[in-house]
């Protein structure tokens, strides 16, 4: 309660002190510093979906929630706030690349990203790119990639944004951001804290979620400086530090906790003249974790990894032809209690060509990587976009992608250094209908992925678990979306409906992969009336088998989740807005990992102040 009061107090103080500040306006046409220059230009034939800023404020600042409510990406969580992974189109969590300002940041240890360590407010732009992307984003961009970018503006202003939220089970989300820019410099800094007792009742039992408390801090810093008319220096930094207890089912179980630190730094020097552009980048990524298997005995194990990356990108335009050539070197060094002290080195070359004409946009790319522990195949991508009519656009894409063995795969305890990368051949066709006058758009995409050499951990003769390139999986399906905007008297409606059908078949057993639902859907309905906005979200996740033999009774039940958010922005104090929301409105019991129950209904209230 004390903490609750403190938060109210902070909110009130901020309201008072901000009375003279001005509203953040997005109408200005600014010069934008793009952190990922390739994303827009070289996604030919594929869908690139940007999640609107307005969706962030209703998803409690958790990237896992944001993706669950705004995409058909499947999110698996070990309970609320616990380790969360994302997978596209029936692929695995390691086959999902998370790309931060153009740099792949999947953990070097397990090859995946924990989506509960990513506060959504830390990024100015969040985009989803289903389908292969290894050519640009390297290992793991098999099922799709998620892009977290920090943009900077040269605007000659100073802005401050404050977000403060309290919710059920003593959950607090706080965020502060300041932006300052002149014509030559731009600076952005934000700080985020997320904490919860997380002791929600387990539906259908008399238990509560035990040992689920967490506290996480993160900070982001971006900076740009114009050295001359043609050159510029950019920096992006991200720091995360969190301690999460892992929830248990029974009080007698050993209680564990997990603390981890991530720091990511990226420095770029950019040169731009006429049709030529070059970018030289240096990135330093550090990740460390400490796992304490019993908080009473405090015997923990710790591991850390450092990655250095140097990359040069060269862009040249020849009229209708855009070219891009990239060369990069990367070294990752691991060290810790469970891992062999080793270095992995990579050298890679890639080139991309785009041909733009009135009748089509065509794209071709090649990538070859060399590593000291495994051979990488020649990767390629072919894409086409055909504007058949003004309302109908056909997109085609075919690519070869890969997922390299991670540090855990290669060097865990004794190590298994004979592993090869997982490879995937992907085919995709997308029909896009856009009826501008009716504010109606419709999209239908079919996809097929043939994944081989998939790495699976199996126990060997001495009962030691070791990874092997054993599995072959075929994933295929359809994804469709329809969106419509209309006005009914004074109310502005915006609605979007998405549905995806996915088969993920193990080639050996001909069975669906476990914990991989075949059906998923979401509906977003936004209503705007004057300064009130109502958002309703409905998600559906189909049943998932928990056993490899697809035993019909051994499943995670399908579930419907409904969320409601009411936003109000008073006319007199337009820098201020307030949201009241209900999560899991109908108290649906659900799990995405067996025996890891998620919370029932929750309530939150937040305030956003833009100064």
């Amino acid at each position: 309660m004390k903490q609750f009061r403190a938060h109210i107090f902070v909110c009130l103080c901020l309201v008072v002190s901000s009375a003279l500040a001005q509203l953040d306006s997005i109408q200005q046409l600014d010069e934008v510093v793009l952190s990922d220059r390739q994303l827009q230009q070289f996604s030919v034939g594929q869908n690139l979906i940007e999640i609107p800023e307005s969706r962030k404020r209703i998803t409690a600042n958790k990237l896992s929630d944001l993706l669950l409510e705004n995409s058909t990406i499947h999110i698996r969580q070990n309970g609320y706030g616990m380790v969360a992974s994302a997978s596209f189109r029936g692929t695995t969590a390691q086959q999902t690349a998370v790309v931060w300002n153009g740099i792949n940041i999947n953990s070097q240890f397990n090859g995946q990203t924990d989506f509960n360590t990513m506060p959504t407010y830390g990024y100015s732009e969040i985009s989803i790119r289903p389908g292969g992307g290894s050519l640009l984003y390297g290992s793991g961009a098999v099922g799709g990639s998620i892009h977290l970018n920090n943009q900077l503006y040269f605007r000659d202003t100073t802005q401050v944004k404050l977000f403060s939220q309290i919710g059920s089970f003593n959950t607090f989300e706080n965020f502060i951001e300041t932006k300052h820019s002149t014509e030559k410099t731009s600076l952005k800094f934000n700080l985020n804290r997320s904490a919860s007792d997380n002791d929600y009742p387990i539906l259908g039992s008399s238990r509560t979620n035990l040992n689920g408390q967490f506290e996480q801090w993160s900070a982001h810093l971006s900076f740009a400086y114009k050295l001359s008319q043609n050159s510029q220096l950019n920096y992006h930094g991200q720091f995360y530090d969190g301690l999460r207890h892992f929830s248990v089912l029974r009080p007698s179980e050993n209680k564990s906790n997990y603390s981890n630190t991530d720091s990511r730094n990226l420095i770029e020097w950019e040169y731009d003249k006429n049709d030529f552009k070059s970018v030289v980048k240096y990135a330093f990524l550090h990740e460390a974790f400490e796992y304490n298997q019993n908080i009473e005995t405090n015997l923990s194990t710790a591991n850390k990894a450092n990655t250095h990356l140097v990359k040069t990108e060269v862009y040249q335009n020849y009229g209708k032809l855009d070219t891009n050539f990239n060369i990069s070197i990367k070294q990752t060094a691991a060290d810790g209690d469970n891992i062999i002290d080793e270095h992995i080195q990579h050298l890679n070359f890639s080139t991309l060509l785009n041909y733009n004409s009135k009748w089509a946009t065509l794209s071709l790319g090649l990538r070859q990587e060399f590593s000291n522990f495994f051979d990488s195949p020649l990767l390629y991508t072919i894409g086409a976009e055909l504007p058949v009519t003004s309302a109908y656009n056909l997109k085609l894409s075919h690519s070869k992608n890969f997922r390299q063995p991670s540090l855990n795969d290669l060097f865990w305890v004794e190590g298994t250094t004979n592993l090869q990368p997982e490879t995937a051949l992907q085919y995709e066709a997308s029909h896009q209908f856009n009826f501008k006058h009716q504010s109606l758009s419709f999209q239908l995409t079919g996809f097929f992925n043939d994944i081989s050499q998939m790495i699976r951990w199996l126990p060997d003769q001495t009962s030691t678990w070791k990874p092997e390139n054993v599995d072959e999986v075929k994933t295929y399906g359809l994804t469709t979306s329809i969106s419509k905007e209309f006005k009914l008297m004074p109310i502005h409606f915006k609605t979007q409906l998405n549905y995806e059908f996915t088969k993920a078949i193990d080639a050996r057993t001909q069975r669906q992969l476990t914990f991989t639902p075949q059906h998923s859907a979401f509906l977003n309905l936004d209503l705007q009336y004057k300064t009130f906005a109502l958002n309703f979200t409905q998600t559906y996740t189909g049943k998932a088998f928990t056993r490899t033999d697809n035993a019909p009774n051994e499943i995670l039940e399908d579930f419907w989740l409904s969320h409601l958010n009411l936003a109000y922005q008073p006319k007199q104090i337009d820098f201020f807005s307030v949201n009241i929301g209900f999560k899991n409105l109908f108290n649906q019991a659900y799990q995405t990992i067996e025996n890891r129950p998620m919370p029932g209904h929750q309530f939150y209230v937040n305030t956003i102040i833009n100064l």
Binding site: R250, S252, E253, Q293, T297, D460, Q461, S463, E594
Partner: protein, 344 residues
């Protein structure tokens, strides 16, 4: 003698011998759905373990036997082993640090011990007390211990810290013996003194111990390169048999009378205590796709060989029952990760 009586006598013989093997004498109560048959313990995955029950004529199987009797409860995570007294079965789950006490013939829930345990493995009962090995922290053996539980109050009375791997536990003539080896590490057997609750003596072996089995006052020890017979009367080695090249990776051991059976890869080898060397010809081998789950459970009882296979541990495993010649008598699907057999 009419045929019914003949079968009845064989039947009661089976029951009596099976009971005396487990050292609890003649059962006081034989009523209950689970009075005559075999329990198969399924370790389970993150959804929890289960118990299967097969009638002693192998004709009927009950899956999820515990939950069929106690629908609102479950056995917890990673069900490891069971120990018995005359009335009760004590089911250990090492992922939940608890022992579920049930009526051994009806499987009705009686009580639960859920304090004082830290990754419990195996247990036994001696003079009104349960002795349960605990692995404790995975990163060290310094804290491995035997929990001494008073069965009148069902609470922890004492802990005997071993400072060594704590795995299978045996009793012979009021002394307790612990296999100080698990997961391919550890090469000792320790003898505990229960009067002053300390480790009295250790016996070391030349290589890591994979499995042990108690039979007729002898403890048989399967190490990486040999099988040893330890006479528990004086805690001295009485016989040793070397393992040949073909037996490399031997993992499970079972003994009945003077017949010794052990597994290597997917084969079973056998010899008798009077043999000087071990035959390199397998008694039988069985079809499996499982690397780790091959012979996940293994036992010999009344001339029948029982084996279980863990398959991929993400779907149901199976058991096989074979006669002493190795011929398949019965194959049956059970739960996830079947790891042991108990003859009720």
């Amino acid at each position: 003698m009419n045929i019914k009586l003949f079968f009845l006598s064989i039947f009661s013989f089976l029951i009596l011998t099976s009971c005396s093997d487990d050292d609890f004498g003649i059962p006081v109560e034989l009523e209950g759905d689970f009075a005559n048959g075999i329990f198969i313990l399924n370790e389970g995955n993150s959804a929890g373990g289960s118990l299967s029950f097969m009638t002693s004529d192998f004709s009927e199987i009950t899956q999820n036997a515990y939950q069929s009797v106690n629908p609102d409860d479950d056995l917890g995570l990673f069900v490891q082993s069971i120990f018995f007294d005359e009335q009760f079965a004590y089911i250990i789950s090492n992922g939940s640090n608890m022992i579920t006490i049930v009526n051994r013939y009806t499987l009705e829930f009686v009580d639960r011990i859920d304090s004082g345990l830290n990754v419990p493995r195996y247990g036994l009962i001696l003079n009104g007390k349960a002795y349960v090995t605990n692995q404790a922290d995975f990163s060290t053996t310094a804290d491995d211990y035997v929990a001494v539980i008073d069965l009148a109050s069902r609470t922890l009375e004492n802990t005997i810290v071993l400072g060594n791997y704590a795995e299978k536990i045996y009793e012979f003539e009021n002394k307790i013996y612990v296999q100080n080896a698990s997961y391919g590490f550890g090469n000792q057997i320790s003898k505990l003194n229960i009067e002053n609750q300390t480790v009295e003596q250790n016996l070391s072996f030349s290589s890591a111990i994979s499995d042990t089995y108690l039979s007729n006052g002898n403890l048989y020890v399967l190490a990486q390169d040999e099988i040893t017979q330890v006479n528990l009367t004086n805690f001295q080695t009485s016989s040793t048999w070397s393992l040949a090249e073909t037996h490399v990776g031997a993992s499970r051991l079972a003994v009945e009378g003077n017949a010794i059976y052990f597994t290597s890869s997917n084969s079973v080898y056998n010899f008798t205590t009077s043999d000087d060397t071990i035959s390199e010809t397998a008694l039988f081998n069985y079809e499996t796709t499982s690397a780790f789950g091959t012979f996940y459970g293994f036992d010999v009882h009344n001339g029948f060989i029982y084996l279980s296979d863990g398959a991929d541990f993400a779907s149901n495993g199976f058991i096989q029952i074979r006669n002493s010649q190795g011929d398949l008598i019965k194959e049956q699907e059970v739960g996830i990760g079947p790891n042991s057999f108990y003859f009720n």
